[in-house]
Amino acid sequence: MAIHSIKDRVAIIAMGCTRFGEFFDKGVDDLIVDAVTETVAGTSLSLDDIDAFWLGTYVSGISGMSLSRALRLEGKPVTRVENMCATGSEALRAACYAVAAGAVDVAMAVGAEKLKDTGYSGLISPKIQDDGSRVDLSAPANFSLLVPAYEHRYGVSEGDFRAAMTHVAWKNHQNGALNPRAQFRKAVTKEAIDASPQVAGRFGVLDCSGVADGAAAAIVVRAEDAWKYTDKPIFIKAFSLVSGAASGNIDEGYDFTTFPEAVASVTQAYAEAGITNPRQQLALAEVHDCFTATEIVLMEDLGFAERGSAWESVLAGEFDRDGVLPVNPDGGLKSFGHPVGASGLRMLYEAWLQLRGEAGERQLATADRGLALTQNLGGAPGAAVSFVSIVGTDAV
């Protein structure tokens, strides 16, 4: 038994993405309508031509009707999926598998989230009834567990690691400043990042991704049909999803300096896509920078830097927009914002724009490498789901 690659069997032929941000004047239905309308408008298709839909949303709706109601779809199969912060990628995965299986000709993946209606600070996760014995940390607190553990393991000083975290925030804000769809379109000084109010552990506000509303969508078809709809389709080269055993906080073998789920998922994805040297082969990587330290650790997990050295690579600018391998050129979760269910498709949207040469001011010099990676993470260190996709411009 084995997981079989769908490499080169499915193509993305249209994408859309709303601006992400605080939209007190828009509901989740509005966000869905905006993203879907933009996506469909990029093709000769109408909604009627789409055979099946998958909606990824974390907390903004239940059941497929959250999509079919918003769009007043009639007679279509629509499924809502959820996989924490990797929810948007899960919708894409389902749509692509349906096409690859031959079950449908045209499928749509939509990710949408409305987070700014709660009035609370930070991300509010649904609570499963329990007995209160488990310590209930906020998301930044969970991810901040990486920082002392990493410093301790690799002998990195607090100051050096702080500088690397600051560089990640600074870079992603620089990138987002160039992105008309980003939540925060403003460069931020390193001094401001260092001095931002404390949230959890050694994370300040500016180490955290933006809590945002937003939606994104993609239409996928069989690879051989792609040219019917667009001159520049993007092909799925690899998919991998790994759901962790969530044993990091009971397993003495786990040291809080890595996401083993990310390592496992990227290893499978590289094998499917034939990637042996990601730093040279990838045009860009969109990774799950929910917090600055997450991005640093992911650089090692994804094989972009040696263990214990990512903080130095980050400081050397290797993942800046003009670096060896640009990471999060659209601003990432950090400055594009993180409407949970939409983020996985937003990552893909940047890959779509960059590989098609449509990224405007942000267009990367490395785009002609023709391959992009998205890595979407949910959960916490020691208890995560990790999704990796690799997409490319070549049909084979």
Binding site: K127, D131, S133, A141, Q198
Partner: protein
């Protein structure tokens, strides 16, 4: 053949880490006061204090046959609190656990009951009062525990009680502070009740005042404890424990336990100890320290330091007497009773399992081993009482906490196993590799349900 000696086999005291300035309290009403009182942390109630003291008992030699719990500040009414202590201490299901009524006399009642049944007596109190008032200022928070059985550290020679119905001090169930009649009235009653009980106890023991080495008297009426102490030391005995009122505060029913523990701490083999409770009558206990005394002291005075100061407004927030601004986060969820019952071995007893296939220790008791994936092949292990080492930690300024910020760490227990829990009683920021010990706490109460759980505290 002489009867086998029976008495106190083990005893312990727990003093919480926090100290509150009496001057700060008194300033609330424009008065002055000296010194500090002991106060429990924001995550402690009488039940969790009781667990601290009871956990320190040496129960390895003989399992107790009963548990008797005394407090004037029960965490629950209607529901027994002693069952939570029973669960957290890890006693067998067959051992009965009882609360005594919320009154100062419940402490001698617990001792008498435990001594009659080879049981343990546990006393714990959080003393509050109206803002700036004498109860708040002169009260203290503490717990004490005593185990009874053969081969004692102090043989129980005799007891005697007198009962008297009069109003000296009283409180309605809904009130924070007690009411006191003119103290001299109570003193007169207690002088009489106390001395009769003492005389009776000494005569039952076949002793006189001249045989007594150390005397301790506890009770809510300060004038009465002084005058009865003076009467009991006329034969040459030395008074012990009076200064605890200043060093710790008057801990309600638990004060009797503190005085008894202090007597035992200071006793040498052969010393005759007289311990008297003055509460709605009097209860006198006559003990003789055996050659085992000193094996395990309660170290009540050693627990006075190190301490952590807490300022008065924060203390009032901790006790829920002043409402604080809520964070912009959802309220915590009410703990589920069936879930807590299923999880009781871990939630209260801190039990987990050691995989019989690969040896990995894991909490709570799992169905499937995280390492070798064996199913339902575990032996039960207990994490309570162990030290642990910090793997990593954080300070969560976003999460709900009754006393923000919430601190949490991933810790590894010395006998194996890792858990993620809250850190408490933190005086300075932790470091990876720091040693902590596990402590039973009440995290928060939601919709009247107290959420008890285990946390870790730095080893001082």
């Amino acid at each position: 053949m002489p009867t086998e000696q029976q008495g106190i086999t083990s005893y312990a005291v727990y003093l919480p880490r926090y100290r509150l300035s009496r001057g700060e309290i008194a300033s609330a009403i424009g008065a002055r006061a000296n010194g500090t009182r002991v106060v429990a942390g924001h995550d402690q109630d009488a039940t969790s204090l009781a667990v601290e003291a009871a956990s320190r008992l040496d129960l390895a030699t003989a399992a107790p046959r009963s548990l008797w719990y005394s407090t004037t500040s029960p965490a629950y009414l209607e529901k027994t609190n002693a069952t939570a202590i029973h669960a957290a201490v890890g006693l067998d299901e067959e051992i009965p656990a009882f609360d005594l009524g919320a009154n100062a006399r419940s402490a001698p009642a617990a001792l008498l009951s435990a001594s009659a049944s080879q049981g343990i007596a546990v006393m714990a109190d959080l003393r509050q009062g109206d803002a700036g008032g004498s109860d708040e200022r002169d009260g203290g928070d503490a717990a004490a525990a005593f185990a009874f059985g053969p081969q004692p550290v102090a043989e129980l020679l005799a007891t005697a009680s007198t009962s008297a119905e009069f109003l000296d001090r009283w409180r309605l169930p809904t009130e924070v502070a007690a009411h006191v009649w003119e103290e001299r009235f109570g003193q007169r009653e207690y002088d009489s009740a106390g001395l009769r009980a003492v005389a009776l106890a000494l005569s039952r023991a076949g002793l006189t005042h001249q045989d007594v080495t150390l005397v301790g008297v506890a009770g809510p009426n300060a004038r009465a404890t002084k005058s009865v102490t003076a009467a009991c030391t006329k034969g040459g005995a030395r008074a012990v424990g009076a200064d605890l009122l200043s060093l710790v505060g008057n801990c309600g029913s638990t004060q009797f336990g503190l005085v008894l523990a202090d007597l035992l701490d200071q006793a040498r083999p052969g010393d005759v100890l007289l311990c008297v409770s003055l509460a709605d009558g009097a209860d006198a206990f006559v003990l003789r320290a055996t050659e085992r005394i000193g094996a395990q002291r309660s170290d009540i005075r050693g627990q006075l330091e190190p301490s952590i100061p807490v300022d008065y407004p924060k203390y009032l927030v901790w006790r829920g007497r002043v409402a604080r601004e809520a964070p912009r986060r959802p309220d915590p969820q009410r703990p589920s009773a069936p879930f807590a019952r299923r999880n009781e071995p871990f939630k209260f007893g801190f039990r987990g399992g050691r995989c019989l296939s690969c040896g990995r220790v894991q909490f709570p008791l799992p169905r499937v081993c995280y390492h070798c994936h064996a199913v339902d092949r575990f032996e039960v292990v207990r994490g309570a009482g162990q030290r642990a080492t910090i793997v990593t930690f954080t300070v969560d300024r976003l999460a709900f906490s009754p006393s923000p910020p919430l601190r949490s760490a991933v810790v590894e227990l010395e006998q194996g196993g890792r858990i993620q829990c809250e850190l408490t009683d933190v005086a300075q920021e932790p470091q990876v590799g720091d040693t902590v010990e596990m402590t039973f706490r009440r995290a928060v109460s939601v919709e009247t349900i107290h959420n008890y759980l285990w946390k870790a505290r730095p080893v001082s």
